[in-house]
Subunit: 337 residues, 4 copies
């Protein structure tokens, strides 16, 4: 074991606190040395019991704390761009929680800044790429054993939506996971999107169009349909079936334990994404730490973050207009090809 | 056991021969007494070994054979309307294979003729309504236990399409089963349809748009998506997941026997609809025989046949235009309400 | 359709009434023409609405009713032997509900009587041989694709036991189904049996050793373990896993419909054997009718009934003694080889 | 993050090397500082690239290396007792791979030595207690929701056995995992054992009795049956079904991804225990490190190791004698109650 990677964490809210605990207790080879949060009291609470962490109100101060070697951004989306550019200026590798930035214009500025450096420093927090089931599906598709993919049928359900969740957020926050997963699994960009809104569930908050059916078309002519249902009431379910020329493959069913009682034979359904994807989060941060210590950047790129933002924006326009909407992407810098 | 129902079967092709065997060997309480087919040689071959069956080149002659009490129509679609109207004129109950007629105009004439009689004589051959799994799903939805249905996700796959199968037939022949199943399961009419065509599978015959994704909207604002894939290469699969306000329910997975070898744990997938739905066909004809002997008509009605035809026509227009297309239905006669 | 087979049914209790309804309404090519039951009132109620059935207090009178061509025995076990021998004397084919006779001595007399005729007339009511899942498993084992079978793991659960059910009946009534299924699936005799009794479930009636674990050894050295649990409280479950040299295969899991609610993802579990095996009963009687009309006997033989009785008797001795007990079989007459 | 726990690892073979990598790369809060192996060349290869590790030919030298705080024993079983006692003498916490010692006499000496200390220092490497599925089953049983357990049906299959694997080792090496799992899940000792040997698979090496069926009885009268099959040829499968008074629960089926091709719908089966239980191994060592750093010992105890050895010895006697054999346990020291 060589010396651990010294990480500054920006943001000590729900996700930031989770990542700080992960680096301290789960991830091997890294330690948190600085934390930034406007609410320094909250930040101090989070790092209580961890030795040698400085707390800052300002993100730049955390980046400039002694010996910082890498940055993990878990602050709200609007704060991401400034920190990313500052990390680039200091030559620091960054793991940035999704979204890369709230809109595609900001994401494109990040992409262009990194392309200007001529090498990658940023990884975006699309943790499904580290989930064991998704990895098996990706590996199967890449093997070519099932032939060319024709369709992805995706299901994304939450028990209930948090306060303030809007119809637009079903597309640009929830479905952004499927946007990245589809691009990654299929290895191609999404080119158009259509959004269909059935009559809402009576369990959805007043005014929220929930569920919705979001349809994507890809560059090579595949289709992706996504049921997004954030007030399903019955579980956190993430499923994906890839229909290919030579077969189909499905992940996401519940099968770890079958219990039979007088009520029937049943299987537990996860109720929370931190439970369902705990492993994936661990693997994501571990992979980032390992790569960073070797001077490499390997995960979802700033381009992936930009593309997700651009597709989500087209999705929101499609949701508003009710018709099929093309996705317009900037030219992809050579760095990401 | 009272005397068996005496049935005339119109058409002795693939489906007709299958129904003749069914009535002779499987169905209790009925016997075939007359068969009509322009190819009387074929018809004679089919009834060889069955006592007391007269063979006719002309459908009307079969209807007028002595003591005919009921008619089963298994001739090609364009021949259905004439036989249906003739059966109505003779007051004979009819089980008519799908489609009721090839187009909605013909179907509407049948509906109006039957409505003019003031009582039902016709049942349409939508046999999924007799399938054990569909019946369980229907019963669950009707129980209200899962609340109002919001979406149906349907999968309909064949191993390969027969010669001459066209892109239009994916919608108006294959998907017509889902059209009826959705109307029946949800208890409401379909009001609009959109058809999406991904780049075809390389295993599809030249020029065939296969697979396709067909989207229906219903009168109360539910959504129905159907993957129709007639050259999947890997099986005959019919699945349906109903997503409701209080839960979801899925039928159609393969689970009857799990075999584990060095290749993995696998389950057989049916390769043919006559295998998958053999039971449903048996139950359908048995139910029709039982009801007919009691002077009742209980199954899918001429209106159901008309509605399926009208939706399928809108589907074909949507397929051609590439945009959402409304379904226009005539007013439903009181007989069917 | 030639003339239907004219069947005398002996016994109009639960099982007899069920078979009478089956022949009248489900099975093609047969009709009930005579019924015998000491309680002729009960018998008359059962055949109300069926034309042309004579009712008798005495089984022999039913056998001698005009034009009887075949006999279905559904009376209590102790009455079987006399009717079987009488049917043999009249050259009538018989479908005899399990058990063939209550003890192996009686069963052996039936076997010897039939062997003396030089041709088979009797079929025993082991209906699992007609169940679709068992047939798939049998077909797979016979194909040799998985190699030689080494073990069968069997589960047999009921919701609750009827009044008067004894510890002995778990072995010689319930497990007799697995005795026949194991002999049939493996194609060999069972040679020894051991019975283990855990501390009973608190839901079992006072004094009933429930569940039990029954272990069989076969002629070629395979093992069969059976969990018999007649007061499971949660369902009627029949499972069988065959472990072979080249793989394993399992039938009997519940999978027809998966329902997901806030309680989890669950599947209905059958609560009754007449529900679970309705199809098998239908197929069994249909197959018997079809074979009988062609002058053939094809199903489980009197020898199968005898062997089941002999194994069950050894099982009861093993249950009493607590140690491994050998099964002693008479020499198998050439008729059954 | 406080200073990491400094661990001496005894043994640098297959399992030792795996644990060294785990502590270096996966486990947070620990580092390897000393390794002992008679083959110091092998040990040096294993620790190449890890800073600050001293390599020793002798286990005692590793224990006495500067600043060692804890010991992980992964040497062959016969070497365990000496190292355990030496660690106790030095007041060092120990994680000892299974078996605690090769026989129950040695295990009892370890138990008595630790009981003499008056506090626990040893944890035995029964890693199934850290597997997510086993934990869910344990939690369900402990909740009391299914009532008292009556039977466990266990399946334990390997693809093939390593060279030199003997019939005895199926019981005292392979089944020792089920011995511990049964004791842990049921919370009681095993009191008797019976071993049944079917005719061996033709794929088993000459002279190896494979598969076998091992039956345990527990102190409160539950039954545990274990299919152990180490040359199944088709996968590494570990299943456990708990049958309780109010329901049953089963873990170990394969369900992470369902692939459908023309060959059927299948699911991958793990081929190796390090793949299937990778997570459990990680969690086990992490839990030991975390507890040790807090001065606590929490996992499977020396008593658990002793009990497993005593049951396995009875199992081997039962295997030889062919009859039910009682398990004799020493009195349990108060330390473990």
């Amino acid at each position: 074991m060589s010396e651990p990677l010294r990480v500054a964490v920006i943001g000590a809210g729900h996700m930031g606190a989770d990542h700080i605990q992960r680096i301290d207790r789960v991830v091997s080879g890294a330690r948190v040395v600085a934390v930034a949060d406007p609410d320094t009291g909250r930040a101090k609470d989070v790092v209580a019991g961890i030795d040698g962490v400085s707390v800052h109100a300002d993100a730049m101060a955390a980046l400039d704390a002694p010996d910082v070697q890498a940055v993990l951004i878990a602050s709200p989306g609007p704060a991401h761009e400034e920190v990313l550019l500052a990390a680039f200026a200091r030559d620091l590798p960054v793991l940035c929680e999704k979204p890369l930035t709230p809109d595609s214009a900001g994401a494109l500025r990040v992409v262009e800044a990194e392309a200007g450096l001529g090498r990658r420093l940023a990884q975006v927090g699309f943790m499904r790429r580290y989930d064991a089931e998704y990895l098996r599906l990706k590996s199967l598709l890449d093997s070519g054993r099932l032939g060319r993919p024709l369709m992805l049928h995706c299901t994304h359900r939450n028990v209930s939506s948090p306060p303030g969740f809007t119809s637009v957020m079903l597309v640009n926050s929830s479905v952004s996971h499927e946007i990245d997963a589809a691009r990654w699994l299929l290895g191609q960009e999404l080119t158009a999107v259509t959004v269909l809104k059935p009559r809402p569930s009576s369990h959805a908050p007043e005014g929220l169009a929930d569920p919705q059916l979001v349809l994507f078309e890809t560059a090579s002519g595949a289709l992706v349909d996504v049921e997004i249902f954030v007030n399903s009431g019955f579980g956190y379910q993430v499923r994906c079936e890839a229909v290919c020329e030579g077969g189909s493959a499905r992940i996401g069913d519940e099968h770890a334990m079958v219990v039979t009682t007088a009520e029937g034979a049943y299987e537990e359904v996860a109720q929370d994404y931190l439970v369902r994807f705990a492993q994936a989060y661990d693997q994501e941060v571990q992979a980032w730490v390992d790569a960073t210590r070797q001077g490499r950047v390997t995960g979802p790129s700033a381009w992936d973050g930009y593309a997700a933002a651009a597709v989500a924006e087209a999705g929101v326009r499609a949701q508003e207009s009710g018709v099929r909407t093309s996705v317009e992407l900037a030219e992809c810098p050579a760095l990401y090809l």
